[in-house]
């Protein structure tokens, strides 16, 4: 790839939300006709940067230059006018429309009187589809297309505006490997025709496959831009991490006991494809992996909240079939969901009421909730978890994120459970609450519980777990004793490791 002229340049871009600086002095050059990867761990600032380039957020300071000239981008429309298009991770389409109508939604070509000029639109879409060599026509109904094909529709839709720069935001998150290779062919075609591409992905194999240069972001700053061919995955990973482990983990050795939960060849939905896993009493098992690797989905299936397609599960040595969360709870599985706001709390209820949801009966006699039992029980939990509040009657919507999370955990302390699943409990939680959550996990493990701890922050996994399993594309690809693992290795395996595509996808 010859060094082309610079298409997009970011100069000293800063962005802050209140006191929180999410981007600091970002300098970035995207050359014409290249595919440029943006890489960084969660919260490094990638998506904020993209949102500034596409006009969703406005920058606090700095300049954006297109073809050497400073441009003002204040809205998505502005960015579109300047020839910047983005393909979102989550394809939002109208399933009952055909490809043409979907591709043109919001910028339809019309004849006089607002009539749709379907003929022209169809022709233009068909042109783009043929350019991409896809296997469907502009008349196909989107409801009948696969996820991969829908993504192709989204690309065609973006191409209709003849963009100079196309941003792909984690485009492969829900694609099969076949569909991914199709996508890469299309990206190569685009590059040949002179479209510049910014490619955002966690998967290193993809980045090494199709990009020319890589920019790594870390802690809201640019760590550097490198030529892809001059670097190897391990070096990239150390650019992404570069932190020392801090000692805020209250790890204490616990008595490791029998196998509490054993999952054998579990299949569920599209994201869980043959998971094998076991966890023992007293053990904290970390589940590492990238977003979309299938970790949450695996545990939701075990918890009975998603349908299990295939697979065996042994719970405390007995065969166990997930039916519903209620049964799972009775069988001894506790689950702290990932999305606290939408899946964990009931904001309009008080702390005591929220605490009571999983084990309401323990505080009731003959179906009527006893105020005394409730106030005693909730008082104890508030105290033992250090929930900061005005009292058990305070509404959950008035608590801070960390304290809300503690309430969700507290729900499972009323009765006794054997297996505890913590799905990313520390996201958006302050340091104090984090420490409290770790302490709680250690305490539960010491009391004989088996803990499964899903986290995308490898640092905390290394700090608190006994053992770490790495998941990628629906399978466990590697297991470590936590003492022997490093953050580099976890990231390396999460991003696909050295395992090449095995072409086993349907």
């Amino acid at each position: 790839m010859p060094e082309g002229p610079v298409l997009l340049e970011c100069r000293n871009i800063c962005k802050a939300f209140g006191q929180n600086k999410v981007l600091q002095d970002i300098n970035l050059e995207i050359r014409k006709g290249e595919a440029h990867a943006l890489l960084g761990t969660n919260g490094a600032g990638k998506s904020t940067l993209v949102k500034i380039i596409t006009g969703v957020y406005s920058k606090s300071s700095g300049d954006i230059l297109l073809d050497g000239e400073v441009v003002d981008i204040h809205s998505p429309q502005d960015s579109e006018r300047h020839g910047i298009a983005i393909i979102h991770q989550d394809q939002q389409m109208v399933p009952l429309f055909d490809v043409t109508r979907n591709a043109f939604l919001g910028s339809e070509i019309t004849k006089s009187g607002g009539r749709l000029d379907l003929k022209t639109m169809r022709k233009q879409v068909q042109e783009k589809l043929e350019f991409m060599h896809v296997d469907f026509t502009a008349d196909a109904q989107v409801a009948s297309l696969t996820v991969g094909q829908r993504e192709q529709v989204a690309i065609a839709s973006a191409l209709l505006k003849n963009p100079k720069l196309l941003i792909l935001d984690e485009p492969t998150a829900s694609l099969s490997s076949k569909e991914i290779s199709r996508l890469f062919e299309i990206i190569n075609l685009l590059k040949e025709s002179g479209v510049t591409i910014i490619y955002i992905s966690h998967h290193l194999d993809e980045i090494f496959n199709i990009t020319e240069r890589i920019t790594v972001l870390r802690d809201s700053r640019v760590q550097g831009t490198v030529e892809t061919k001059n670097i190897d995955p391990k070096q990239i990973i150390s650019m992404m991490i570069g932190r020392e482990l801090k000692d805020l983990y209250p790890k204490e050795p616990a008595q490791i006991g029998d196998v509490a939960l054993k999952i054998d060849d579990l299949y569920s939905g599209k994201l869980v494809r043959g998971v094998n896993l076991e966890v023992r009493r007293g053990e904290i098992l970390g589940l590492a992996g990238l977003v979309g690797a299938g970790r949450t989905e695996t545990m939701l299936a075990v918890y009975g909240a998603e349908k299990v397609k295939k697979g065996n599960i042994l719970l405390k040595g007995e065969p166990y079939r997930p039916v519903s969360p209620k049964r799972a709870g009775k069988a001894g599985i506790a689950f702290i969901p990932e999305d606290r706001r939408n899946e964990g709390i009931v904001p309009a209820m008080s702390i005591a009421e929220n605490l009571s949801l999983s084990a309401t009966k323990s505080w009731a006699k003959r179906g009527i909730i006893r105020r005394k039992l409730q106030s005693q029980g909730s008082g104890q939990i508030i105290k033992s978890l250090n929930i900061v509040c005005t009292g058990a009657g305070q509404l959950l919507s008035e608590l801070s994120g960390g304290n809300q999370q503690k309430v969700v955990i507290g729900r499972w302390l009323i009765d006794k459970y054997d297996v505890f699943v913590f799905d990313q409990p520390t996201t958006g939680v302050d340091v104090g609450a984090k420490a409290e959550i770790y302490r709680q996990m250690v305490k539960l493990a010491k009391a004989g519980g088996a803990i499964i701890f899903i986290s995308s922050e490898n640092e905390e996994l290394l700090g608190i777990c006994d053992r770490i399993a790495v998941m990628c594309k629906g399978r466990i690809v590697k297991e470590f004793q936590a003492k022997e693992a490093t953050e580099q290795e976890l990231l390396y395996w999460s991003a696909g490791g050295d395992e090449q595509e095995d072409g086993n996808d349907e």
Partner: protein, 331 residues
């Protein structure tokens, strides 16, 4: 320290506003009642008010059923129709020489059956409650019309008292000067208050209302809870129907249908009486009494159905407007 004092003064200043926000609706209702009294001085006579309380029992039963359905974010359009059918069926069975107690039991079974079928449709098959109960309403209506051969009134009071005595006594008798209807109403309010506000089931309903996904993931059987709301509402409607029939000594098909309108008005007004504008038992009861007062006033003034319907619409819209405005300000 300084900070604290500022906070408290600000609080006391807001107190009046806070009070008005929470109980403004009650104040408004009282003002309206006083206006009624000015228009017609028979209105606030004790005897008149007593009559209103007595007559509100039926509506209270149905509206409490509706409160159940609405507080799991469902709705039950069939409620008044089930009451109507229950009245007709009980009268019909007694006329067919079924022993009164047996007839009563069979009518309750009918209510249970409708409740179960509603529950199956909404909670287990996933039919939207709005459409499903509307369908049930029409099916039940059709059923009772066919049963009575085209809306023939089922008249019980012409039968010998020896046969119908026990049955009619339920609605017409009294204990220690308190009419049975009222006693049953009070009993229902107490029991339902406990079920709705204090029981495990009620807690689970609150959770579903607040966040279905959270409720599901915390291990609540959301389908069963949803189903329970529909079963309870149909059963309450059946009880109301039996009382109406026994009170009047006769049942005319489609005579009770208009209770549906009053139900809606009562429950939506009831939301204004809770702090966070939720459907609640005590609010519903007060809403029912208020609706009773309005109906009574209109009857006293000789105003027709038109004004009443206009008021229904007005009250529902006002109540919901105030509710949403309050919630939006809070967020």
């Amino acid at each position: 320290m300084e900070n604290k004092t500022i906070k408290t003064t600000a609080f006391s200043k807001n107190k009046a506003g806070e009070f008005f926000k929470t109980y403004g609706a009650v104040v408004g209702m009282f003002l309206l009642l006083i206006v009624f009294q000015i228009f017609d001085n028979r209105f606030l006579q004790p005897a008149n008010l007593w009559g209103i309380c007595k007559n509100s029992a039926f509506l209270i039963l149905m509206a409490l059923g509706m409160t159940f359905a609405l507080s799991v974010r469902g709705i039950d359009f069939s409620i008044a129709q089930v009451a109507d059918a229950a009245a007709v069926i009980s009268a019909f069975l007694i006329l067919k020489d079924v022993p009164p107690m047996m007839a009563l039991l069979l009518t309750l079974l009918f209510g249970l059956f409708i409740g179960l079928s509603n529950a199956l449709l909404m909670a287990y098959l996933g039919v939207p409650a709005l459409i499903g109960t509307l369908g049930t309403m029409f099916i039940v209506r059709s059923f009772e019309l066919v049963l009575t051969n085209g809306a023939q009134p089922q008249v019980l009071f012409t039968m010998p008292r020896s046969v119908t005595g026990t049955f009619l006594n339920i609605g017409q008798g009294s204990v220690l000067g308190l009419p049975n209807v009222m006693l049953i109403g009070i009993l229902a309010i107490v029991v339902i208050y406990f079920v709705r506000e204090r029981s495990v089931l009620g807690r689970h309903m609150d959770a579903i209302n607040g966040n279905v996904r959270s409720a599901f993931l915390s291990g609540i059987d959301i389908r069963k809870t949803f189903a329970a709301a529909f079963i309870l509402s149909a059963l309450l409607a059946a009880v109301a129907g039996i009382l109406i029939c026994s009170r009047a000594g006769s049942a005319t098909p489609r005579a009770t249908e208009s209770y549906l309108n009053d139900c809606f008005v009562a429950v939506y007004i009831g939301t204004l009486l809770s702090k966070d504008k939720r459907f609640n038992v005590l609010g519903t009861v007060i809403g029912c009494l208020f609706v009773g007062c309005i109906s009574n006033f209109f009857t006293l003034m000789g105003m027709g159905n038109g004004i009443k319907q206009l008021c229904n619409g007005f009250f529902i819209l006002m109540a919901v407007m105030m509710g949403t405005a309050h919630l939006r300000k809070k967020n």
